[in-house]
């Protein structure tokens, strides 16, 4: 994909502004639902950056996986745990924010210095352009075949693990009377951790 360089610059500046503002909004906005929607905006602008870098396959994967799956999952989690709760004040919270901000600023300055002073071997070999998808396919089925297969095992394990972790346990029989219970209706009593009362 070849676009005129001015158009490319304008796209880059617009995408960068969306990206940075969106990321700040994700971190700083008090309402977490807005944060989740801004996160989708961040993911979409990252996909736009990939398109600028001639990587259409990864851009499509980014949109499908991040915006389509991860962000929807996060929205579901927000809907499931979205209880208004008053967060207790913590002593030294403001100081902690300032200190961690200083640490992050220092990290940023370090990264900027590395990015600017390192003599990158530019210009590298010419970009492959539209053949990127074909080349990725060749990589995935030749020299990266083992990680590719392992990724499928990892996804299977993550799927089973998520189901096991998020499942609700139900008793097959009533705890007190011992008679069989209607499956799916009786939920196991919550077992609060370390609150003193042992669960029945």
């Amino acid at each position: 994909m070849t676009i005129a360089s001015t158009t490319q610059l304008i796209c880059f500046v617009a995408l960068s502004a969306t990206l940075v503002l969106g990321a700040l909004g994700v971190v700083l906005l008090p309402n977490i639902v807005y944060s989740a929607f801004l996160l989708a905006g961040v993911f979409l602008s990252v996909a736009g950056l990939y398109l600028l870098l001639n990587a259409s396959f990864v851009a499509a994967a980014q949109v499908l996986v991040y915006v389509g799956a991860v962000n929807v999952l996060i929205l579901f989690a927000i809907m499931l745990v979205n209880k208004k709760e008053d967060l207790a004040d913590i002593p030294g919270l403001a100081l902690r924010r300032v200190l961690s901000g200083a640490v992050c600023g220092g990290l940023f300055l370090l990264l900027v210095r590395v990015a600017i002073t390192t003599p990158w071997a530019l210009p590298g070999p010419a970009s492959i352009g539209d053949g990127a998808t074909i080349r990725i396919g060749e990589h995935l089925f030749s020299d990266y075949l083992l990680p590719f297969e392992l990724a499928s095992v990892l996804l299977l394990m993550a799927m089973i693990g998520a189901i096991v972790l998020a499942r609700r346990d139900v008793y097959s029989s009533d705890v007190i009377t011992g008679e069989p219970a209607d499956q799916g209706l009786i939920e196991k009593a919550r077992t609060p951790l370390l609150t003193g009362k042992p669960s029945p």
Binding site: S5, F12, R96, I128, A132, L155
Partner: protein, 109 residues
């Protein structure tokens, strides 16, 4: 000496953008009270890493785009991480009735 706009986007621009995104992610990771927002910050950091990988693959490794393959693997691992992380979060919420990170201190000295 006149400051002229570059005709193409330099590699450093992508690196600086990724650095900004990563630092915002780290700050959010440390300072979020809500556990879901912590997971979102982790996604921001993973995206910053991916931008770096893609920029290097496009500028320094234009023919054998190995960085793009790595980015695909990072996306896969991030999807698995999000699924397991949110499942842990749901289970935790069911037990503790809160998503406040400050109250998840069971394993803290």
């Amino acid at each position: 000496m006149t400051l002229s706009l570059p005709t193409t986007i330099p590699l450093q621009a992508y690196l600086l953008l990724a650095a900004v995104l990563f630092c915002v992610g780290v700050w959010g990771l440390i300072n979020s009270r809500n556990a879901v927002r912590v997971l979102m910050s982790i996604e921001l950091m993973l995206n910053a890493v991916n931008i770096n990988l893609m920029a290097f693959s496009s500028y320094l490794d234009g023919q054998l785009i190995r960085g793009q393959v790595f980015a695909i693997f990072v996306i896969t691992v991030a999807a698995a991480e999000a699924a397991v992380g949110l499942a842990i979060l749901l289970s935790l919420y069911r037990n503790r009735e809160t998503v406040d990170m400050e109250r998840f201190n069971l394993l803290r000295w």
